[in-house]
Amino acid sequence: MSRAMAERVHRALADENLQTALTRLLGLIKYVRGITFANLDFETLSGEIRHVKETSIANLPDLVEQFKLQATKSGAIVYEAEDAEDARGYISMVVHEHGVKHIVKSKSMLGEEIGIREHLEKMGITVTETDIGEWIVQLASERPAHLVGPAVHKTIEQVAELVSNAVGGNIGTEPQALLDASRQALRKTYIQAEMGMSGANIALADTGSLIVVTNEGNGCLSTTMPPVHVAMVGYEKIVSGWNDAAAILRLLSRCTTGMKMPVYVSHITGPSRTDAIPGSVHMGSGGPRELHIVLVDNGRWQMQETEDFREALYCIKCGTCLNVCPVFASVAGQTYGYIYHGGIGAILTAFQHSAEEAEDVASLCLGCMACRDACPARIDIPRMIVALRTGLAQETGLPWLSKMAYGRVLKHPPTFDKVLKVASYLQQPFVDKDRMIRQLPGSLKSLTQTISLPALSRKPLGDRLKENSSPGKTDKPKVAFYSGCVGTYAYPETCEQAMQLLKQCGAQPFYPQKQACCGAPAYFAGDAETALGLAKENIAALEEMKPDFIATVCPGCASMLKKEYVKLTSGEPKLNRRAKALAEKVRDLSQLVMELTPSQLPKPSRNQKITYHDPCHLKRGLGIFDGPRKLLEREGFEIVEMADADACCGFGGHVVLTYPELSKSILKRKIDNIEATGVDTVVTNCLPCVLQLRGGLDKRKSKIKVVHSVELLADIL
C-alpha cells in the first residue's frame, strides 16, 4: 500500500457526490443483472468464451500472421507497435501525413492505455471522445471510472454543468435535454473530423476484420464519417473467425447492459469502396478511404508467454468484475490510480507498468472471489493476485513488517502463541466487562475505529483442551478439530461448543495440540515459504491420529487445508500425496454435522427468524452455500434472506488492517442489508466473519446478535 493510494481511498470515501453516484450505479447494476441472468445458462456460455479465448491465445502467433495477411488483402494498413510510445509515434505520423486537425474517437481502453488523446492534444490536435460518458469525463479532465460506464461517478448536477459549459448555454438538469444537447454537439464534431479513431472489441483472423461494438451509435459514426480510420487493437483481441466472435458477443452485452446483443455491432473489413466510378475500384465511398490497424503489444506477448498470467488476456473488457467488486462499489475506478481497475487491473498494471505498482492496486483486493465467479471468461483473478505477490516477494522480498510477522512469528507456532499470550495480558486495561475492546490507544487506535474487537482469551483453546488431545480407542468416527487462529485466541468457547456438537452427533472429536496457523495471511501476502512451512506442520499434526474427518469453523482455514496445501506442496511428491489425503477429510462443521446425522428428521418450527451470511471462502472457496441453510432449516429456524447475502463483510485480504475506512464502508452495506431483514439474529459459518459483523454491529449499538451456527446448534441438537 502506498501513501498515495491510501490518500485516494480516503478522498473517494469522503466524496459525497461520488458516493451518491455509486449508490445509483449499484442499483442499476443489480437491476440489470437480475433480469439478464434470470434465464441464462451462464455456465455453458462462459464455458464457450473460455474455450474460444484459451484456444486463440494459445495459437496467437499463427492467428496474428493470418490476421495481418487478410487485413492487408482487404486494403487495410497494419502496423505492429511494441509499446505505447511506438503506437503513439505511428498514429502521430498518420495524423501528420493527412494534415489532420480534428479527430473523433470512439471509446477504447487501449487508447487510454497508450495515452493517445493526451499525446495528440499536446500536438495541438482537437480530439473529441464520442461516447457520451467518455465525453463527459473528457470535459471534466478526468479518467474513466469504469470500463463500460466511464462517467458512472458523476451526478446529474455535475453532468449538467459540464455539458452546459461545453455547448455554451444553460441546459438544466433534465436528462433528455442534456442528451439532446450532447448529441447535437457531437454531431458537429463528426462532420468536422478528418480522422476517426476506435478500438476493436474483437478482431477476426480469417477475414482480417474488426468488430466494434457500441450502444449509442457513435462507433458507427466515428469509423465511417471521417476519411481516415485508425483502429487500435490489442493482440489478444484476435480470434479465428466469426463463430468465435459470436460466442463472445453472446455474453459481452448481457454482462455490460443486460441486452442480448449490443445495439450496433460493426463488422469492418477494409476501407469503404465503390466500383461505380469508371476505371477501377476506388476506396473511400461514403466512408474512409484509409483504414490503419495498429496492433499493440505493450506487455501482451510477455503475458502470453507467462503461464501464471496468460488468462489475463482472456479478458473481454465487460466490466463485470468491477460490477460485483465490493471495493469498487465503495471507491470507483479512479481510485486505483492506473488505467485498468479492480483485480484484473492489478494484473494488467503489472505488465504495463511494474509489479510494485501492481501490488499497490492489488492491495485493495479483499480476496472475496466475487469477480472470479462472475467473469464470463472464468478468469481466476484472485489466483493471479497471489501469484503476483509471490513473484514480487521472491524478487524484491517482503516488506520488513510482513517479513517479521510471517517469517519470525507466524511461522513458529510457539513464538506466535507467546506473542498472543503477552497481548492478552497487555490488552486488559482496554477490555470492557462484556469482553469487548472498543477503543485502543495510540497507533492501535485505527484497529477499533471500524469495529469493536473481541478480547483475546487469557486461556487459549489448546490449554483448555489438554485432556482432549487424542481420540483414544473408539468405534465412533474420529474427528480432528482444527480451530484456526481466530477460534484459538478470540473465540475458544465457540470451539468448545463445536467439539460438544460433534459429540452430540455421535463422533469422537479431539484437538491435535500441534496444529498451527493455516498460513493464509502469509500465503495471500505472497510469502509462500512461510505458508509451506505451516502446511508441513499442520499436515503432520492433523494426520497423526489418523482421523476420519477434520472439522473446521473457519472456511478460510478450510480452503487452505483443502485446496491451497495441495498447490503449495506440488514440488514435493510425497508431501503432496499426504496433502491430498488430508484434503479429502476436511469438512466445514455444518457439512460434517449433516454427514454424521443423515437420518435426522426436520424439527418443528422454533418460531425464530434468522438471516444467514455466506462467508466468501465457504461459498466461493468451497462451493458450500445450500448445506448450511438446509441444516438451519432442518433444526427449525426460519431463514429470511438478506440482499447480497454472499457479499464480503469487509474483513477479507488485509483491507481490514490497511484500509480500515474502506472495510467500514463495505461492512456498512452488509449491516444495512442485515438490518433490512428485520430479524434479530444473523448466523454465519466463519469466525472471522463473526468477529467483523459482531464488531460492526456493536459500534452501531445494534441489538442484532451475531452467531456462528455452532452456537445455535450446540444447545439443541
Partner: protein
C-alpha cells in the same frame, strides 16, 4: 445456439420487439409500401435517404414516396448517379458523364478524377443523411436468436442511413431470417450486396433494437446518437404471390 421457439420468423419478431424495435408484418411488398407511406405521414417526414434495396426497387418505393411529396435521395453511389440521370443504368458511363452528373447535383465542379468526384459525392450524400427525417435500409439477413438486423455493403453510407436520420426503417424479407448468429457468416458471404474484390462486404452492421445510453445519470435514455425510432417491416411474401 438454437432458440427454443422453432419458427425463426416468430422468434425474430419477438426478440426485435423486446430489444426496442417496432416490428410491422406485411403480407406482401405492396403492404410494406402502404405501411411506410402511412408512417411518413404520421411522423411528418419531409425528406428521406435510402440505401441499396432490391425490395424497394421492385416495389418502386422511391417513386411512391416522391408522389407523396417526400424528397428521397438514393445513397448508394451507383443508385444515386442513376437517380440523377433520371433512371439510366450507370454501367457504361464515362468519367466525364459522372463528373457532369455530380456537378449538376452539388453545384460544384470537382476535377475529373475519381478522388475529387468521390469527395464531392460523399459530402453531398452525407449532408442529405444528416438532414433527412427518415432512413430506409434493407437487411440482407436477420437473426432470430437476438432480434438483430444485418445490413451489409461496401460503401459507408449504408451505415449513415441507418444511424443519422430521426427515424430508421428496415425492410426485411422473412425468408432471410436465420436462427442464430453462426448462420450469418456463410450466408453473408454468398448473398449480400458489396463484396467488391473480397469475400466479405466491407461493412456488416448488426442492429439490435433501439440505440440507448445510460451515461446521463438518472435514466436509460433512448436515442443516444442514432435514430429515435427503429422500425422493421417484415415482408412475408416478398415475391408478391409468385414466391414460396
Amino acid at each position: 445456439m438454437s432458440t427454443e421457439v422453432t419458427n425463426p420468423v416468430d422468434a425474430f419478431i419477438a426478440e426485435a420487439g423486446k430489444a426496442g424495435a417496432s416490428v410491422f408484418q406485411a403480407p406482401k411488398a405492396e403492404d410494406a409500401v402502404v405501411y411506410l407511406i402511412k408512417l411518413v405521414q404520421e411522423h411528418n417526414v419531409k425528406t428521406a435517404v435510402k440505401s441499396k434495396s432490391e425490395i424497394a426497387d421492385v416495389a418502386k418505393l422511391r417513386e411512391r414516396l416522391e408522389k407523396e411529396g417526400i424528397g428521397v435521395v438514393e445513397t448508394d453511389l451507383r443508385d444515386w448517379l442513376s437517380q440523377l440521370s433520371g433512371g439510366k443504368s450507370a454501367d457504361k458511363w464515362t468519367i466525364g458523364q459522372v463528373q457532369e452528373l455530380i456537378s449538376q447535383a452539388t453545384g460544384q465542379k470537382p476535377d475529373k478524377e475519381p478522388r475529387a468526384l468521390l469527395d464531392a459525392a460523399n459530402l453531398f450524400v452525407r449532408q442529405k443523411c444528416l438532414d433527412a427525417d427518415l432512413g430506409i435500409s434493407e437487411a440482407s439477413l436477420a437473426i432470430a436468436e437476438t432480434g438483430s438486423l444485418v445490413v451489409a455493403g461496401d460503401e459507408g453510407v449504408s451505415r449513415l442511413v441507418a444511424v443519422l436520420p430521426r427515424i430508421h426503417v428496415t425492410l426485411l424479407d422473412s425468408q432471410n431470417i436465420v436462427p442464430s448468429m453462426e448462420d450469418v457468416f456463410t450466408k453473408i458471404k454468398k448473398g449480400s450486396p458489396g463484396r467488391i474484390s473480397q469475400v466479405m462486404p466491407v461493412y456488416v452492421t448488426y442492429i439490435t433494437g433501439r440505440n440507448t445510453t445510460a451515461d446521463i445519470p438518472g435514466a436509460v435514455l433512448a436515442r443516444a446518437q442514432g435514430p429515435a425510432e427503429e422500425y422493421i417491416i417484415v415482408i412475408h411474401n416478398c415475391a408478391g404471390g409468385t414466391g414460396a
